[in-house]
Every structure is written in C-alpha cells, then in structure tokens.
Symmetry: D3
Subunit: 169 residues, 6 copies
Amino acid sequence: MQAKTPKDSRTILTDLVLPSETNPLNNLFGGELLARMDRAASIAARRHSRRIVVTASVNHVAFNKAIPLGSVVTVEAAVSRAFKSSMEIFIDVWVEDRESGKRSKANEAIYTFVAVDETGTPINVPELIPETKLESERYEAALRRKQLSLVLAGKLKPSEATELKALFE
Amino acid sequence: MQAKTPKDSRTILTDLVLPSETNPLNNLFGGELLARMDRAASIAARRHSRRIVVTASVNHVAFNKAIPLGSVVTVEAAVSRAFKSSMEIFIDVWVEDRESGKRSKANEAIYTFVAVDETGTPINVPELIPETKLESERYEAALRRKQLSLVLAGKLKPSEATELKALFE
Amino acid sequence: MQAKTPKDSRTILTDLVLPSETNPLNNLFGGELLARMDRAASIAARRHSRRIVVTASVNHVAFNKAIPLGSVVTVEAAVSRAFKSSMEIFIDVWVEDRESGKRSKANEAIYTFVAVDETGTPINVPELIPETKLESERYEAALRRKQLSLVLAGKLKPSEATELKALFE
Amino acid sequence: MQAKTPKDSRTILTDLVLPSETNPLNNLFGGELLARMDRAASIAARRHSRRIVVTASVNHVAFNKAIPLGSVVTVEAAVSRAFKSSMEIFIDVWVEDRESGKRSKANEAIYTFVAVDETGTPINVPELIPETKLESERYEAALRRKQLSLVLAGKLKPSEATELKALFE
Amino acid sequence: MQAKTPKDSRTILTDLVLPSETNPLNNLFGGELLARMDRAASIAARRHSRRIVVTASVNHVAFNKAIPLGSVVTVEAAVSRAFKSSMEIFIDVWVEDRESGKRSKANEAIYTFVAVDETGTPINVPELIPETKLESERYEAALRRKQLSLVLAGKLKPSEATELKALFE
Amino acid sequence: MQAKTPKDSRTILTDLVLPSETNPLNNLFGGELLARMDRAASIAARRHSRRIVVTASVNHVAFNKAIPLGSVVTVEAAVSRAFKSSMEIFIDVWVEDRESGKRSKANEAIYTFVAVDETGTPINVPELIPETKLESERYEAALRRKQLSLVLAGKLKPSEATELKALFE
C-alpha cells in the first residue's frame, strides 16, 4: 500500500447552524457538533484507507467557544497518523463572523477510526507521511496519545511508554 | 464596496449520503440534494455580500447521475456573477468512488440569492471579478441566463436581450 | 397505455412550517421548500406513470414570497405534459393566513421526472390530455420549455426549435 | 361567529413513507403516523377556528393495516363536531398501491383540539354543521364519544350520559 | 412461557424538548410526544414478549399540561395487562422543573401492541402478574377498556361486557 | 448549596436504533451515539446543578461494540465528580438482546459540563458525595483525569499533578 499525506484525506464540511441544532442559550448543541465532526472524520478516514471505517474512540474534544445560531461552521478533518488498522483524525472547527468574514478557531477534536472489511474485521491501512510543520507535530503527538491511552487502559506498562517519559520526568 | 473574486465565496460541503436521505432505488433523493445545494449556495452568497441572503430562484438543475447510499458527496458553490442586489451562484456536485477515490461530476445547478437587510429589503452587493477561464465563461453566461429569465417572465423585450441574439440567429 | 388527465395525478401536500425549517428571518428555508415540492412532484409523476420515478431536472423555481414560521403551506403538483419517458410537473405553492383564512400564491415551480424500471432504465409513460384552459396553457408552454432546454444544452439547433421562434422573432 | 361545514376545514396531506420512518418490518412506524395525523388535524382545527390550537386528546386510533416503505399515504382530516372551545377531528388515512393506483383505507383516528389565545386560555369556536350522511353520522357519534370520555373520567354520571343509554340497554 | 411483572418491562426514556419539536406556543408538539411514547411503549412490549411488536391502537391520550421548550421529559412505559397476543401498555409522562427539580405529571396514555413473528402473524405472549396496588388497578381497568373497545367496535354485545356493567348500572 | 449524590442526577434514556441512525454496516453511527450521550449527560448535569449547562469537553469515548439497527439502547448518565463550576459525567451504554433480554455493556464515555448563568458565565455547583464502591472509584479517577487533562494542556506542571505520580512511577 502506498503511503499518503494528510492532504490526501483532508475533508471540509462547511454548513450552517440551523434552529433545530441549538441549545437553550441559542448556541450549537455539543451533541450536534460531535455528530458533524464524526461524519467529516469518517470521510477523512475513508479517503486515507479506501475502506469501510468505524469510529473507535473520541480521544479528546474541548468546547472552547460557543457557536451561535446562524453561524457558518467549517469542520476540517485530516488523518494525523496511521497505525496498523487504525487512524487518528485531527479535526479543526472554525466559525466565521458574518459581517467581517473573519474566521476564528472554535474547537479541536481527535477521533480514532478503524478500517474494516465487510464482516467488520480490522484490515491494514496505508502509512501516513506528514508534510508541514503542524502535520509533523500532530504526527508525533499522536503516538504519545496512543501510548497514554494504552497506559490508562492498563494495556501498556508506563515504563514501556517511551513517548510519555519526557512528559512526567 | 470592494469587488470580490469567486474564490472569496467558494464553499465546500463534503458529507455522506445517509439512509434517511435515499429513494426507493437507494439513491440520494432529488429533494435532499436540492436542500444541501441551497445551504452551500446561501453560504457562498453570504461570504460575497456579508449580509443576510434569501433564495430568489433556482434557475436550472439537471440530475444527470444517481448518487448511491453511502457515497461521499462534495457540493462546491461560488458566486458566478453579482448584479445589483442579487448574486448568481454556480454549484458543482462531485461524487467519490470509495475504492478508487476517483471523483466524478454528478450535477450542476444554478441558484440566485438576494442580499437583504433585517427588514427583508434588498441591499447592494459587491461586484464580482472572475479570475480563471471557467469563471469568466460562467460570468458571461450568467448575463445570458438573466436576460433569458427576464424575457420568459415578460419583463424584457426579446429585441433588447442583447446577449441572446447570438443564440437564435 | 391509456392517456391520463392532470386531475389523475394531482397531489396535495398541506403541512405546517416547523421551527426546524426556518432561516434567520424566521421564514421557510428555500432548501426545505425545494425538498417538499420534490416529494409532492414525485407522487404526481408516480400517479401518472404507476412506475418508479426519479427527479431529472428542476427547470425553474421563483421564490416570490417569504413563508413565515407557523404558516400552513399547500403544495399542489400535477403532470403538465408527458413526453416519451419524462413528465413535466407543474407545482403551485399556496400559503394561508391563519386569521382570515385567505390563501395566496407563494411560488411556482417546474420539475421534470423520468419513469424507470427496477434497474433504473427509462420506460414509456402514458400521454397527458389537458382539460381546463390553464392546463392547456401549461401543456403548450411545456414544449417550449423542453425545446429551450435542449437548445441551451446544445442538443437542438435553434432553427429546429419550432416553438421558440415566436418568442424571438 | 359563523357556523362552518366539515368541507371548510378538510385538510389533505399526501406524502411518501421515507426510510427513516420505518420499523423493523419495513412498515411506517406507529409513532410517525401519529405525528403526521397530529399535524394534519391541527391544520383542520385551525381552519375551523382561525386560532392557535393545541392537541387536547387522542381518543382512539386503530392501526389496522401496515403501511410499507415507499407507499404514498394520504391523511385526510376534518372537524367532525365543535363544542365550546374544543373540536373533534376525524382523520382518515389512505394508502395507494403504486402499480394499480388503488386507494385503500389504512386507519382511522380521532383527535381533539382546543382553540386558545396567545396566553393559552381556551376561546370559543364556531359551530359545525354537517352536510353529508357520513358527516352527520360522525357528528352524532362525536357527542357519544365526548360523554363516554366524561363518564370514564368521572366527570359525568352515567345516568346523565343521555347518548350512551342506547349502547348499554 | 413464564409470566412476567410490570417491572420486567418498565422502560424509561428521559430526554430534552428540543427547538425542532415545539409548536407556536413554544411547547412540545402533541405529535412529537405521541411518537416518543410510541417508541417507549414498543420497547416495553418487546421486553415483555421478546418478539417483534407493532402498534395496534392508541386507546386514550389526554394532553393535560403543556410541556415547554427546554424541559426535561420522562416517559415511563410498562405493560399493564397481557392478553393472547396483545399487550396494553400504560404510559406516564413526567416533566421536571429545572430550578426546583420538582417532577410533576404531564400526561397519561394507553397504547396497545401486538407481538408478531417475522411474517407479521400474531403470536402468543407471556401472562402479566401485577405486583403493586397501582399495577393491580391498571390491570383490572385494562379488561374494562378492552371490553369497551370491543363493544364500540360492535364485536362484543354490551350484555356480555361483564366488566362494564358496574359502570352503567 | 447542599451536596448531592450520583443517584440524584442519574438519567436513563432508553430508545431504539432507528434506520436513519445507522452506518453502512447497519450499526448505530458513532456520531449519533455521541449526540444521545450528550443529551443524557446534559440532563444529569442539570439535575445536579439546577442550572443551564453547556458541554465543556468529551474526555474519552471508546466504541468497543457495534450496536445493530433495531437494538434497544440504554444510556445511563450520572455526575461522577463536581469541581467548582464543572461536573464530570460518567456514561454507561447498554445494549439489550431482543430474544434473551440479556443486557451487555456497549460503551463508556466521560463528558464534562459547566454550569452557567443566563449570560453564559460559569457559576458554582454543589459538591458530589459518592455512595457506592463504583461511584467512589469513579470519583477518585475523575481527579486523575482532570489533572492529566491540565498537564496535557500545559496548565499544570507534571510535578504538581499529585494524583498522576502513582501512574508513572
């Protein structure tokens, strides 16, 4: 399988915040944004693997900024690192001011997807080669996040979590 | 108001075809695609005008190619010509083969939006300056379409429809 | 196949404008109305042909009048002319004032549907025979619209577009 | 207030059964049909009263016949009797065979709505005058249903339920 | 088949009232509540029978209390009596004040479901044994409701409706 | 403010997996489950705080087990620890086999909500006192998760993350 770059899987989903998607403060519901990000991330995972993909985990999502009714929201997803059959997808969410047109960062999220065959069995995916500085940083951090998640799940000894040492020493 | 280019309003909405959006042949419903294109086009019109915008007309949509359940569909919308308070939006719809990743054109559509103030009154929009060859062709054709639509509505005499003469001579 | 009249396919879809279907001005979204009209038109095409039908094109839709939240909207669709396997559907949209009960015309639209078999192959449909004066006018105009659309698509020479001559002479 | 006839409030909602509305047997969900009937009935109640209306009760709905995916369903609602501020709405549901075009009765339902002002306070509605034989039968039965419901709620003594005597004697 | 108790089928569906589910008074639409109750009741029927179940009838629903946008609504459904292949489901709807946390009764409803096999043919269900005082009262009343519904449908002579005599004597 | 227990905020949302919520393998979409869990968690946060609450972060969600179309899914959410104005919500997702009625664990998730006033400003919430062994374990782990998240965000020095030492020593 030929290695791919984040650009190959980059997925852009620009859409409105509709009245049916808002909470009592008239901002986009967390749950609705999670669902939109899941759809964009699944397309990115599919573009990287050319396979059926299923959500494996949502590693961290911070809702830093409320997104009001009527906003234009852009969800950008791209594979940040590929493992054996799993892919980490990094998602940036931008919101756009109608009058000035200024775009500002609203959220970041990290999802993991697994490529599977028709029976649901995991299947290998191509390697990812980062190109830009930001892509390289996210690529490196992806391994730390994977090790951290294995440690927290009790599937990796902290002493073997090579990437985490720096963090806690 | 400063003139803008089609690039300034280009809007990309990539999303899946979900089971709730399909017809008895398991293809994307025409009506659902019309609604998605309307949302993407309204964002393009808003990016051009920085105003509230409302759909004025759908000039022509041809459904050339069925889009099956589970497809990845990309709707790309950009302003193709600006008139006084109205904007013609040209929309290209692409569908992507999961296995090969090949993108093919599924539909084209042309919508017209009007910029309005808070009371719904039409309001001026910036001029559009095409940059690429394709953008220039669409810019020219937009005037023909506008004249044709005025002739068909009885609001312009055929003899004054300067751009249409070539067509019928 | 036995010819049919517009009455045989007339389809009425009266429904409310719900909060989830409105734009920032609290009026029915263009995209949502396009989807409702598509459903009503597809039922009319099916009643005429008794076949599976798919949207082929949306020929012209003018959004003349905003339809506010809470309105009662009536979409009336009927076949206006049948060709070999395609049918033109004329759609009238009415909105009703709650207090006075007065109905006024909000929009008109023209959709084209094609009848297909289980494999998606086009299949012949019955002829349409107009009965009222309005139905006859729409029947005549349908041929002009078809020729115009063929001319614009480069599939018919303007000199052969017999019905369009009157328009531009 | 001028009395009205059932024809004045008759409301027709013809629509498709979409994939998102079906149960594991691929038939229309009971809950979805209840919601459609509620919308059609509320429009009928509004056409009779020209007021805001709210659902007061669903008196009886029998789901006699499954309605498969892809069916064309017609919900017809009309006021069957008006009381002080409440209206009984009788709803007939028809389903249409695609190939033969034959319409058959799928369900009947009876809803009660109350007309209210902007504060939610009940407000008087016009009288209903039945015209056809079927309308008269439903008009008579509506009073029996109202008395029965009052008896069952303990708000009317059986001995005063004049219309019910025939039934149990 | 082993008899079951109402506790075995008790189903709790607590959810928010979202903006897309409200009427012009900003209260939960009757139709939406009917659909939610149908889903909860179908789960209760399924838990009792361990079979596919379909809605047979909605016997009585009274909307006593408006449920405002943003409310927390709890729908509690449990089988109140089992007959041969049908089950009566009693549904209590509670609404919760955000500030005080006080729960109050908003509605009651009674649905009937039938257990069916894969072909849609009715199939026997286990007996229900009430445990609490309230469950016993509902169990007794269920038979009266069944007889009443048979009498009203002309399928049982009033003289044979043993449970109804008390009511009208 | 009076301290509360997890029981005070426990929220149960039992519902079906509908056709409109499934992916190409006919299992519940990750995004749809994220949205349901967000609604249940927001109700739990509200029951604890009696305030408006907004999603602050999704700390970790593992999709261990596919949930097929037609399943009965139970989402149970309860506050696992309260901080100043934020609350950690622990969510358990159960899926139920129709024939055997056996419930099995499908997912776990951890969301954080913040209580806010009408202007969106964070506001204090009551303390949480765990009662059962499982609640105590989750209560302890919540502090570790909070410190870990502060360390990863660069807002806490690893040397000050008292609860994490054990993990990496």
